[in-house]
Symmetry: C3
Subunit: 426 residues, 3 copies
């Protein structure tokens, strides 16, 4: 009964047209062209590699797309249990007329060709969005992205700032900053001006969020320009910074970003907890992991210093969810943001959704984003989330708390769509 | 079927008259007088603030109770999903004849007036306890509470010791200690005597527990009087203590408390893991949060040094529950104590109850306390717990392990009531 | 419906004959002789002690087996809720014709006698294995075990290395090493040779894994022979090592073991997270606990340095499971290994299984081992796991993802049996 109820709720929630508040879509090439674009997603390459396929077979230079897909299909026999492969099968069934429940050595070629034909249709991008029930899509833009040549009504700019905070010691990053702003910064003051120009440019293109991913060790603190100057000058001189200096630079830039978020009235998306390149021999984008020993207490000063800035927060470690729930329940400027990466699987989505819906104000929860690189993934990922959400609404609200189905759907619609509008002002 | 079974078990467990083993009731004013007393509970003010209401509107000096309730009701539209607002609605339905499922701008005034009339009845305190199925209530008494003017048969004293362990550097705390004991301590020896007088006084008033809340960083250690003396003398001289000295003082006082718990045969309630004033601009009592990076290994020396003292332990972080289960399964003097604060929501209560009932001896589990400030909250809070407990008994014992319903109820009654009697000797 | 489906799946999975990939069986005395062997398992003695029985009553020297069982039975009234006592009842029902649902003061003597008669049958060991559906059993062998006098086809040697890594400072450990290898090591080079001889000996006896349990603080690093030599020489001189030196020795030996695992093509079982002797006054084997503040990031260098070695990993803290899932999903040489000790209870097994089956390649998951000391425990422990596994297969695969029952069973059989064969090469 609970299962039928959940399906009924899910059916209704599937009618809600969505705004996807975080993706890695390239607006100049948003949809896929072949199944290789789809199966080249790091989830499939890293799982195939993990299950035993040598990296060289996956990342061989000049590999033909169809040959690559054929190789990856060999691995699916070891991966069909994963929810990621379930996304793949579901999107093939939705978009490409696939009717089997497994992609195998026997059926993949026909699927490849049928998919290629479909994706070659001129309006495939529009079709895909429409069939997926998505009308607007947030991007992840490099700080020096010109933001031209695409429809910013459909594709909403978002200023991604990892490079500025963590990689300013790299000459190429500084060169990109100089080129984008016309400022070759010489210290804290001019760096701040350069960052301001980035915000001004993004604001002129209807940016709706500033965003960054952060390692577990990071703890933001206010750093004065005076305190930052020696480290910044050391960095400009080309000498290697000490650990403390590196931290000082990161904190200074990060705090500066938060200050501009006040000025430009932008939410600041924090994606907390990733360690980069833990497995350097892994496939492309399949090298990062985490250390779950992290706490939101590290962000205490930030949350207190910027009451005017909304911080939509994603946590990588599932065990961080209770802190996220609790900090969102206390701090007006902290909101929960979806289910990120290693926590984006149904067992964790359900646990996390259950706690959030039970203890965080309903206007402070962003239910989900797809994090996708190609448009075809919005459908299966949001479907997965809607199923989890519907189970929680059915069990914890309609059954346990005797809500009407309409009351439960209203809550579901708010976290799926309504809060994206109010929190990001779209 | 599982749902009906759980309801049947819950119905039976609701008949058990309870002793509430931890509250913040003021025995001189135990029940509420208006809905403002009820909605002034920090859960509602902090959630309203978190959802967007300025602190000034909630804590305006001299605010009329009815006006305050009217303002808070405005926030409920953002909070009706929370279990805390569910408590509010449930208690209004139980006690005040409220028949709607939401408190709204349209129905709150009538509710306010009806509630005020009910609470004005001379025997409201008795009625409330009787309807709630509660017969005795543990208090949280300041160390200098005279413990007079109330019925210690109904309201059981409990010596709360946070001020002694963590705030002895404040002159007002020392003044209160001097006034309560007649001893102006001059060093470790006289401080120990003063603390002993507090225990003697509380023992004469039928105290049943010593209690304290502890930050994640705290790690108890034995400190000799000789080692504590320099820090205590520094503190008495009014100079600021070093971090190490502050720790030494806290550890010395804490260890002294444990020694007196041996002498007075008192359980020592430890509530582990809260960071105070993380959000200093929050509303009253809505400023504390936590850092989940804490371990019961920090209490290893304590548990080994005091085999005669029972330590009922509450943990703030849900992830601490497995350690609590495991330490209770190994140490004879460690028992599980209810579901505290940020862990006191059904998704976490169920997970934690499931593990405890599966792996901790049944005579070592205190199921629940209300932690309430006003009597009206015992009903909805214990109801929430009973529903969680019943679901676990139904699924994990009656269905999965084929226990009879009566066997399951017997386990339920023991954790709800029986163990409170045996562990605290009431 | 879900419950009936789970039972149907469980019935099928129970037909799979198993290899138990980690136990503490003594192959010279694999089965029990009386109920005292069974109830002497640390789970019963430590729980009885935790529930209030003095250690002296349990561990009284020269205690008659039947008297000991009688005493432990007194405690069961406090322990019948635990899953460990459920194992006990289930194995008595399976093997000894016990028909009650509780072992009590009234029925235990008859049970004791009936069990003793059964276990006195000459082929009890064979009967027990056959009835339990177990055909091969991994051992945990001391490094100096001669590995003679038993059938290595049925009982598979596994080289346990805790003593070498963590207790080389004890003269008796060094004496055992010298005796087993004929080498009295004088430094890193000769120690490495001695360790190599152990591998050679074990390889000649069909060893299938190297194994170790590790404290939360351990973090493996490569240590050169040159860097290890001063600490090893200090140790040989009998002087107390510094903390750093102790760590250096442990790391050197551990890394050496990993190097030999390459040479001998052995998986290296890592059991991560136990603190030994946290409660030194506890009963035998009932003294160890843990600090959950541990991360697999500590093993980053190891996983990167030994791509040729498979690391089946068990984690003691349940919160470590998401890291384990994520590291297994990224690193080809990391696989999930069962549910260990304090995480080996149904609430945690289900959560962990759910996440693993959803996100780890299906060929990289070892479902379960019994960790048993006596053969009689394989049945109830594997039964517990099969029930958890079946519930997850029913809910997450057959119902939520519409897999056929046969597809779900195939996944179940692979994690129960197939992967043990492929990963350990048996």
């Amino acid at each position: 009964m609970s299962e039928l109820l959940a399906q009924r709720l899910c059916g209704e929630l599937t009618k809600v047209v969505l705004i996807d508040p975080h993706t890695h879509i390239n607006p100049h090439s948003a949809a896929s062209k072949t199944l290789a674009d789809i199966m080249g997603y790091h989830y499939y390459t890293e799982l195939a590699h993990s299950a035993g396929m040598p990296k060289g077979r996956i990342e061989e230079p000049g590999l033909d797309p169809k040959v690559k897909v054929g190789r990856l299909v060999e691995s699916l026999v070891n991966l069909d249990n994963t929810i990621q492969v379930n996304w793949l099968v579901e999107l093939c069934r939705k978009f490409f007329g696939f009717t089997d429940d497994r992609i195998t050595l026997d059926n993949w070629e026909a699927l490849y060709d049928r998919a290629a034909a479909k994706m070659a249709e001129l309006d495939w991008e529009d079709q895909c969005l429409k069939q997926s029930g998505i009308e607007r899509v947030f991007l992840t833009n490099d700080f020096d992205d010109p933001l031209t040549g695409f429809n910013t009504e459909r594709y909403i700019p978002c200023l991604r700032t990892d490079d500025l905070v963590f990689h300013l010691a790299k000459p190429e990053v500084r060169a990109r900053l100089a080129k984008a702003t016309g400022i070759e910064f010489a210290g804290a003051a001019s760096l701040r001006r350069a960052v301001g120009m980035l915000f001004e440019h993004f604001a002129s293109k209807e940016v709706r969020a500033c965003a960054i991913s952060l390692p577990p060790s990071f703890s933001p603190q206010a750093v004065t320009a005076n305190d930052a100057d020696p480290a910044l000058k050391g960095l400009l001189s080309g000498r290697e910074l000490t650990c403390d200096e590196t931290v000082t630079v990161s904190r200074f830039v990060f705090w500066t970003l938060a200050e501009y978020c006040v000025e430009y009235k932008l939410p600041f998306d924090l994606m907390i907890g990733v360690n980069r390149r833990v497995y350097p021999d892994g496939v492309y984008q399949g090298q990062d992991l985490f250390d779950q020993r992290v706490s939101l207490i590290q962000y205490k000063d930030l949350f207190n210093a910027f009451p005017q800035v909304t911080f939509p927060i994603s946590v990588l470690a599932q065990i961080s969810n209770q802190e996220l729930v609790s900090y969102s329940w206390i701090f007006p400027n902290v909101v929960t943001n979806a289910h990120w990466w290693y926590s984006n699987i149904p067992p964790y989505i359900e646990l996390d959704t259950r706690a959030r819906l039970t203890a965080v104000p309903r206007n402070k929860q962003i239910g989900y984003y797809s994090d996708m690189y190609k448009l075809e993934f919005a459908w299966p990922k949001f479907s997965m989330y809607r199923e989890c959400l519907s189970r929680v609404l059915a069990q914890d609200f309609v059954i346990a708390r005797r809500w009407s189905e309409e009351q439960a759907l209203s809550l579901g619609r708010q976290v799926l769509r309504g809060n994206v509008e109010t929190i990001f002002g779209v």
